[in-house]
């Protein structure tokens, strides 16, 4: 059986990850709103789905563990146990554990048996203590008993003017109705339906302090001809029943039940349909025969009833499988697809117009041809944008993990931290989102550990006790801007300088601008934290952040005010696959400069390029002198012009530094698809990647930062 499911396994892991995220998110929200039943239900459903599907795929460890979590969640949901930070904490830890369990099921990696055991025990302990229910008005007292009532009223119930609802109300007055399930399985087709006959039956779970006789008395008037069983069960023994509660209470709706992902066992279905009681089922199960056969033999149910239940089971199974295979695909707004289809339609029309024109072309139609070519270009460009848009996801998916992170961090560091997220709906490429997770985590950790002060220190400085970390995302031109802002102590200029001097990164009395000083914290191994904590301070991190962001073609910048806080700004391209580029020529070679880094291009006047120490060239651009890099020198090419006044200077900006790059000529502007050089070759300094040009040859994309580094190095060697 498991082999048949192998193809769905990927879908399972994907879905499990989604459910896990939902559980985690829900639990975090639950901390703020402990009494939100909707939320609990949501968490429960997700957990239940994991359990169900894990069981189906044979991941017993996952299913068992989730079952333990579910038991506890169910108690919370039924109000049999009150939520507390300790419980939430336990559940969050269990979620982490579950995550590793699922990972190990996926990759076969080892699991920390000890943690699993401990958490399992903790969960069981927390669930067991529910026998002492929390003090809430609706809670049953210690002497309370739980009755399982299965009631199939007589056919003539309505004819005598009796209302089942009245009975429910009376039962409710006796105590608490934990569960009422209406069973409609005996309902005939509409054509056969006699409106005056009662086809319904109920299963009721009642918790009450009253005696059995009192409960029976409620059914006094309908006792005659009714099939009524009232069974008392110990509160503790309620648990296994109530855990199946989810599937039961939603049983009236097949689809919803299927959403749970776990096909209900046949016996359960029969019990729920009122065709037999749980006791009878247990006895039947004990006989180790096929449940259906035994039941028919014992004349408890008719073969038709079994057939019906079997059908129901099959339906659920197929529906679950269908759902699983769907989950492998990416979710895209239908809106996006509709627009795409419209565009493709336009493209087809343009294409047919062009081929029509081509079949009987005359020279005087040239303007028409050009116009249609322009239309084609417009169509293509738009389709390209839309197709890229399919890969776009809201950045909220990356932000979602931070509430948990910040919660854990604040607990660990003994700080009070509030996390404010904004701009979660900002869309960017899926691959970018995936690769900014780590850098963002580093930055948030950093803010929590280094940035924010302890509550006492904050109060001493007239700041609110609770520190704030803000995560914001927004579009800025063709790029996306993500800021991580804290209102902590800010970067300490003196400390950084002292540390940098100690580590030999700078000379003792070197004059540095603020930006240059802040940039020091991105050096590998740099940390000003006095002691290494669990969270950060080892000095690995910031350099990784910088490297990761730069490898995505982005930049990191810092703004900080002592005592007021620090803001890290990440600027990233929307997508990694396509950039807008300017094609330039040096000698015979063509290069592409990312348009984002170009500020302007100028043709310098005679004498505006000055030299210092006979070599270093500077150009005055609106009052400030910028170093000039001759591309042909850096790349050792044979240029057309060696005189700056004949060539073109591109003023480029990278990480706040500006530089002029000299080329022979600007050829034009175009969108280029970035191809990897590293796939078959290696990284080349000064080259960010390659692309295929219009004539089929390879064009190299310049890496401005790299160029600057080469130039600086050459200068250093020259001096």
């Amino acid at each position: 059986m498991s082999n048949d499911f192998a193809q769905f396994q990927d879908a399972f892991f994907e879905e499990a990850a989604e459910h896990l995220a939902a559980v985690e998110e829900g639990l975090l929200q639950l901390e703020q709103h402990p009494n939100d039943l909707d939320l609990l239900n949501k968490i429960f459903r997700s957990a239940h789905s994991i359990k169900g599907t894990a069981g189906m795929f044979g991941f017993a460890a996952v299913a068992q563990f989730t079952h333990k979590m579910e038991t506890l969640l169910d108690l919370l949901r039924n109000g049999q146990k009150a939520g507390s930070p300790a419980v939430t904490d336990l559940l969050l830890k269990s979620t982490d554990c579950l995550k590793t369990l699922i990972e190990s099921a996926q990759t076969g990696s080892g699991i920390d048996e000890e943690t699993v055991q401990r958490l399992t025990a903790d969960l069981a302990g927390a669930s067991a203590s529910d026998a002492q229910p929390a003090a809430a008005p609706a809670q049953p007292s210690r002497a309370d008993r739980t009755y399982t009532i299965t009631w199939t009223p007589p056919d003539w119930l309505f004819q005598r003017g009796l209302d089942p609802l009245q009975i429910m109300k009376e039962l409710n007055d006796l105590g608490r109705l934990a569960k009422v399930v209406l069973n409609t399985s005996r309902l005939p087709d509409l054509s056969d339906l006699d409106p005056e006959r009662c086809y319904l039956s109920w299963e009721i779970l009642l918790t009450t302090g009253k005696d059995r006789k009192v409960v029976e008395a409620v059914f006094e008037f309908v006792r005659e001809d009714s099939v009524l069983s009232i069974e008392e069960c110990e509160t503790s023994s309620v648990k296994p029943i109530s855990h199946s509660d989810v599937s039961v209470s939603r049983d009236t709706n097949d689809e919803q039940c299927v959403e749970d992902g776990e096909p209900t066992p046949l016996g359960e279905i029969l019990v729920e349909s009122g065709a037999l009681s749980r006791d009878t089922l247990d006895k039947a199960l004990a006989q180790q025969k096929r449940v259906g056969e035994i039941l028919v033999e014992q004349k408890v149910v008719t073969p038709q009833q079994v057939e019906l239940a079997l059908q129901k089971q099959r339906q659920q199974e197929t529906a679950v499988q269908a759902k699983k295979s769907d989950a492998t695909s990416i979710r895209v707004d239908t809106d996006k697809i509709d627009k795409l289809i419209n565009l493709v339609g336009e493209l087809v029309i343009t294409q047919s117009m062009l081929s029509d024109l081509g079949s009987r072309f005359e020279m005087r139609q040239l303007p028409v041809l050009l116009e249609r070519m322009a239309q084609l270009e417009r169509n293509t460009r738009e389709i390209q944008e839309r197709v890229m848009g399919i890969r776009m996801l809201p950045i909220g998916t990356a932000f979602n993990r931070f509430p948990r992170l910040v919660r854990d961090l604040s607990a660990k560091a003994g700080k009070k931290i509030q996390l404010v997220l904004s701009g979660e709906e900002t869309e960017l490429d899926k691959t970018v989102i995936e690769s900014i997770n780590d850098p963002l985590t580093h930055l948030v950790r950093n803010s929590a550990d280094h940035g924010l002060e302890l509550p006492e220190e904050r109060l001493d400085n007239n700041k609110p006790e609770i520190g704030t970390i803000r995560l914001n995302a927004c579009h800025e031109g063709g790029s996306i801007c993500i800021t991580v802002e804290d209102d902590g102590r800010g970067l300490n200029r003196e400390k950084i300088i002292a540390k940098a001097v100690k580590q030999g990164l700078i000379a003792e009395h070197e004059k540095l601008s603020d930006d240059q000083i802040w940039a020091l914290i991105f050096k590998p191994g740099f940390s000003t934290a006095e002691k290494v904590t669990d969270i950060s301070g080892r000095g690995v991190g910031m350099d990784v952040v910088k490297r990761n962001i730069e490898s995505l073609g982005g930049t990191v910048s810092i703004k900080t005010t002592t005592g007021q806080g620090t803001t890290f700004t990440l600027k990233l391209p929307l997508t990694l696959a396509i950039i807008e580029g300017m094609t330039v020529r040096v000698g015979k070679e063509t290069y592409i400069v990312p348009l984002l880094s170009i500020l302007e291009s100028i043709q310098p006047k005679q004498g505006s390029v000055k030299t210092v120490v006979g070599r270093g060239e500077l150009i005055n651009v609106r009052g400030s002198y910028l170093p000039v890099i001759r591309l042909h020198e850096v790349f050792a090419l044979q240029p057309e012009h060696t005189e700056p006044t004949k060539g073109i200077l591109l003023i480029l900006e990278t990480e706040g530094e500006r530089v002029a790059i000299m080329v022979d000529e600007i050829l034009g502007q175009q969108q280029v698809v970035i191809k990897s050089m590293e796939q078959n070759f290696r990284k080349v300094e000064g080259i960010a990647g390659a692309t295929i040009l219009g004539n089929g040859t390879v064009g190299l994309i310049l890496d401005v930062r790299g160029l600057l580094e080469i130039a600086q190095r050459e200068e250093a060697v020259a001096v």
């Binding site: 070679e589 790349f635 796939q679 290696r682 390879v698 600086q712």
Partner: protein
């Protein structure tokens, strides 16, 4: 027909044609008068020479990169790599695309000649010439009739300096 039977018949065919299936097959090519061979299993395809894009600041034997149906492939000029004089490209000049460490690399050679079966016993270890002739990229010398084939060890042919960043000079250099 069972697979083993088919194999036997292929073997017989080969033997009838004077070939053996033992040993390895090599694609041989020429650089001037010299004949070289690469393991046929490494060869991805052979294509005519087309213009490449130069990569700045790379060793001279890295001729540039080429667009191979959308992927970027580096091209190595073998003559330069071996320190032989360069020649004009002719209609016979081809690029042999080989796979080395999961990367596709193009080798520019004067011409391809043949696919040869060379028995293990006909392969002798590379000769030692002393310091002035580098033979580290050779895996052996193969004999095929009167022909001498220098068999290339692709893993060693393209050393770290060519294919990875490690040898790029750093600022302290």
């Amino acid at each position: 027909m069972p697979a083993s039977a088919r194999e036997t018949s292929i073997k017989e065919c080969n033997q009838a044609a004077g070939r053996t299936t033992d040993g390895n097959q090599f694609l041989t090519f020429n650089l001037g008068e010299e004949c070289y061979g690469v393991d046929i299993l490494r060869v991805r395809e052979i294509k005519g020479y087309s213009a490449v894009t130069k990569i700045p600041n790379t060793p001279a034997h890295i001729k540039g990169v080429l667009n191979l149906r959308g992927t970027i492939v580096p091209i190595v000029e073998l003559r330069t790599k071996f320190g032989m004089p360069t020649v004009e490209y002719t209609a016979f000049t081809v690029i042999i695309l080989v796979v080395v460490r999961d990367k596709v690399i193009g080798l520019v050679v004067d011409s391809v000649s043949d696919v040869l079966n060379i028995d293990k016993k006909d392969i002798q270890p590379p000769p030692q010439f002393g310091a002035n002739v580098d033979v580290s990229f050779m895996s052996g010398i193969g004999k095929s009739g009167e022909k001498l084939v220098a068999l290339l060890n692709m893993e060693h042919l393209l050393v770290d300096g060519d294919m990875s960043e490690s040898s790029v000079p750093t600022g302290e250099a």
